[in-house]
């Protein structure tokens, strides 16, 4: 669909690359959060911290997936034969 390509496909690749980098960062952040152990010294407080960490890791995991999808879509759109 060349008409939709009123932008240089190179830019689509640039954004796709940036999306991939952000995806990697989100994935690493998720792993980093889960790699640490903290001892607050109190069971209810510990649960609140652990819950936050699990939710944050989950949000980052979901973000990893959505960034990967967006990157793939742009890479596809950047192909010369796209929409042909």
């Amino acid at each position: 669909m060349p008409a939709a390509h009123s932008v240089d496909p190179t830019w689509l690749d640039v954004v796709a690359t940036q999306l991939t980098r952000s995806r990697t960062a989100a994935l690493e952040a998720s792993h980093e959060l889960l790699a640490h152990y903290s001892d607050t010294g109190d069971a209810p407080t510990q649960r609140s911290v652990d819950t936050l960490i699990n939710h944050a890791a989950e949000a980052l995991g979901a973000l990893t997936d959505s960034l990967a999808d967006a990157s793939r879509a742009l890479q596809e759109a950047a192909r010369p034969d796209h929409g042909a």
Partner: protein, 192 residues
């Protein structure tokens, strides 16, 4: 001795807090770079372009919101680590005072030792209980308040993470205002 009255490891809390803030900073940098790159696609038109842009903008908002949560949570943990370290020191001093007064600790309660004692010695120790108990209470209350603050902050931030973000109109990827974090939170863009 420090572990008797006040439990917990302030070093591990500080490390986790620092790690959260570092990751937050990295994620913010990536959000910034992504936003710059996205600006180059302004001329990209069509349904596919609109869908892609909307999806990326939603991801950007989640990226920023998550980074904000991690920064706030990390700062809260670092504050708690400081409070916990102070609590350990207060606890250590209180326990020392208990020991020097010839008294005992039953949990957080200061008690007189059981067994035979002279009337004068027993009277002297009994007279010291309120003052020594006050020292113990100071340490436990200090840490209790800190735990309350941390627990409330973690709960608030967890709720922020669980709420779906507002979907910005296409082409308007505004930074998420700090004050709106509690209302918008972040979630998987696919759930929008």
């Amino acid at each position: 001795m420090t572990a008797t009255l006040v439990h917990g490891d302030h070093v591990s809390c500080s490390r986790l807090g620092g790690s959260m803030r570092r990751e937050s900073s990295r994620l913010r940098q990536h959000a910034h770079s992504l936003e710059d790159a996205l600006g180059e696609l302004a001329a990209w038109k069509g349904a596919e372009a609109g869908d892609s842009r909307l999806s990326i903008e939603a991801s950007l908002r989640v990226l920023r919101a998550t980074a904000d949560v991690l920064d706030e949570a990390g700062a809260a943990l670092q504050r708690y680590a400081t409070d916990l370290a102070e609590g350990h020191e207060l606890g250590r001093r209180a326990e020392l005072r208990v020991q020097r007064a010839g008294l005992l600790l039953d949990g957080t309660r200061v008690i007189e030792p059981w067994g035979p004692a002279s009337a004068i010695g027993s009277e002297r120790r009994r007279g010291l209980v309120p003052e020594v108990q006050a020292r113990v209470d100071l340490a436990t209350a200090h840490v209790g308040r800190a735990r309350g603050r941390l627990g409330r902050e973690m709960t608030r931030l967890t709720q922020a993470l669980s709420r779906p973000p507002l979907l910005a109109p296409a082409g308007q990827v505004e930074p998420l205002p700090h004050s709106e974090l509690g209302r918008t939170g972040c979630a998987h863009p696919a759930r929008l």
